[in-house]
């Protein structure tokens, strides 16, 4: 039995995989606690989870896209959150006395705390933005990102000669994708385990009788955004699917008030029980967050991806490359573009076959079982890099 502390950011796409991992660790007889903003974590983790709170503070909403979003996620979120949460992570370690930490890739505070105490720790990558450094094609942007990582290290008062890239644990990097989907190889200590699916607490209901057996089923989700571009896309998607009532039904993950007067075959619901719905779906239209992409593909459901920011364009390209869906422009796709993409994917069984192939690659990757086994090996073997003050 070991104790694991999971350090996570207040983002559903990152907390959900950590919940899948946490549940699997508990099933294997281990003890688990989370460290993060309790206000955001509690509804996702449920009443039973142990949470060491970092406190909450308002981070400016991110409405940027493209490379401006790379800047804002680091300057407005990753860097301030690392500085803000470091004392709370230290306190959580002192109280919980974990044998190892699992640190979300965008929570470098956990990496610093673990390194300082010589504790074994693993990176949990729930995004492809910092996996295999896709920004390397823009060397000066890549350099800028590394500068932000170094800034976090320096501001924490860490010794210059021990600096390392905090996005990657030197011991173990767990990533919620598969080699087949990413399309390249990684160093020995990377484990691409596929999606870490969880039993989620407090799932919303869904009108069970609504889905008809004689219709194809589409789900449209653009994540938790509420900016004007997102509203435009949703309205375009409604216009795209409105004339297709003779062949499909579609569920929009959006507040019903935002999409009034829907025809009978379209339904808007603010939250849906995603993992319960997926086995009944033929297509997911998504902005391409890795969580949604991998959950869909794990169920063999192909996608139409309209990427906005961060790793979403990368994920969209990977889906297209795998043959498991199509990419369309989020900001500009009109009703006709969306309708064309949806009817193409629904009309060609090849997309579903390719999605099933990715699902098989996820199954081979091992999911939560493989992640738990890798973490067990991590806690059993001695850590090679000792505490930072070991020479004194």
């Amino acid at each position: 039995m070991s104790r694991y502390l999971l350090v996570v950011p207040p983002l559903a796409g990152h907390v959900n995989p950590s919940l899948g991992l946490g549940q699997a660790l508990v099933r294997a007889g281990h003890e688990v606690a989370w460290c993060g903003p309790e206000l955001h974590l509690r509804p996702l983790l449920g009443a039973g989870a142990t949470v060491f709170p970092t406190g909450s503070r308002l981070f400016r909403p991110q409405s940027d896209h493209g490379l401006a979003a790379v800047r804002s996620v680091w300057d407005r979120f990753i860097v301030p959150y690392a500085r803000f949460s470091l004392p709370a992570v230290d306190k959580a370690i002192a109280e919980f006395r974990p044998d190892a930490l699992v640190v979300d890739q965008h929570c470098p505070a956990g990496a610093i705390a673990a390194h300082r105490l010589g504790l074994p720790w693993a990176t949990l990558a729930c995004s492809t933005m910092d996996l295999g450094d896709p920004l390397a094609v823009l060397p000066r942007v890549h350099e800028w990102v590394l500068g932000r990582v170094r800034h976090i290290w320096d501001k924490a008062g860490m010794p210059a000669d021990e600096y390392f890239d905090l996005r990657f644990s030197p011991h173990l990097v767990l990533a919620t994708t598969s080699r087949e989907l990413v399309g390249r190889d990684f160093p020995e200590h990377f484990r691409l385990v596929g999606p870490l699916l969880a039993e989620r607490p407090d799932q919303p209901g869904f009108p069970a009788g609504w889905l008809r057996p004689d219709r194809r089923r589409v789900l449209v989700s653009t994540g938790t955004l509420a900016d004007d571009v997102s509203a435009r896309f949703l309205r375009a998607a409604v216009a795209a699917l409105a004339p297709l009532g003779d062949r499909l039904q579609a569920v929009f993950v959006a507040p019903p008030a935002e999409l009034p007067d829907l025809p009978e075959h379209l339904l808007a619901q603010a939250r849906v029980p995603m993992l319960d719905l997926l086995p009944h779906l033929d297509l997911v239209v998504s902005h391409g967050g890795l969580n949604t992409v991998c959950e869909s593909l794990a169920h063999g459901v192909p996608l139409v991806v309209a990427p906005i920011r961060h790793d979403q364009p990368i994920n969209a390209n990977q889906v297209e490359h795998a043959g498991a869906g199509l990419r369309i422009g989020f900001a500009r796709a009109g009703a006709a573009d969306i309708r064309a993409a949806v009817t193409t994917v629904l009309g060609d069984p090849g997309f579903r076959v390719a999605a099933a192939r990715v699902a098989e690659s996820f199954a081979r990757a091992g999911g939560t079982g493989a992640a738990v086994a890798a973490l067990a090996r991590l806690t059993e073997s001695p850590v090679t890099t000792g505490p930072s003050r070991s020479t004194s």
Binding site: G66, V137, L138, R140, V141, W144, A331, R332, G334
Partner: protein
């Protein structure tokens, strides 16, 4: 001005009908912020510019050498200047 119109026409082609809202390709419009270009759009525009102005015009290569500020602030006028310098 003729060159501006020609480059703007190529960019307008990439931007497409914008879901019904015709995009204004003004000289000071930023590709990323105003025209909502993503990496696929940059590649498409680069290919179209190279077809028209020759292989010395390599927009993707040019963009890959820029830093974050220059990339997010890249305007239509700057693309025109780049094309003018390379195609000369």
């Amino acid at each position: 001005m003729a060159l501006f119109e020609e480059v703007a026409g190529i960019l307008r082609e990439v931007v497409g009908p914008c879901g019904g809202c015709p995009p204004g390709i003004a000289p000071n419009a930023t590709l990323e912020g105003d025209l909502r270009f993503d990496s696929v759009d940059v590649a498409a525009a680069g290919a179209a510019l190279a077809r028209r102005f020759g292989d010395r015009v390599d927009l993707v290569g040019h963009v890959s050498g820029l830093d974050l500020d220059a990339l997010t602030g890249l305007t239509v006028a700057q693309v025109v200047d780049y094309v003018a310098a390379r195609a000369a």
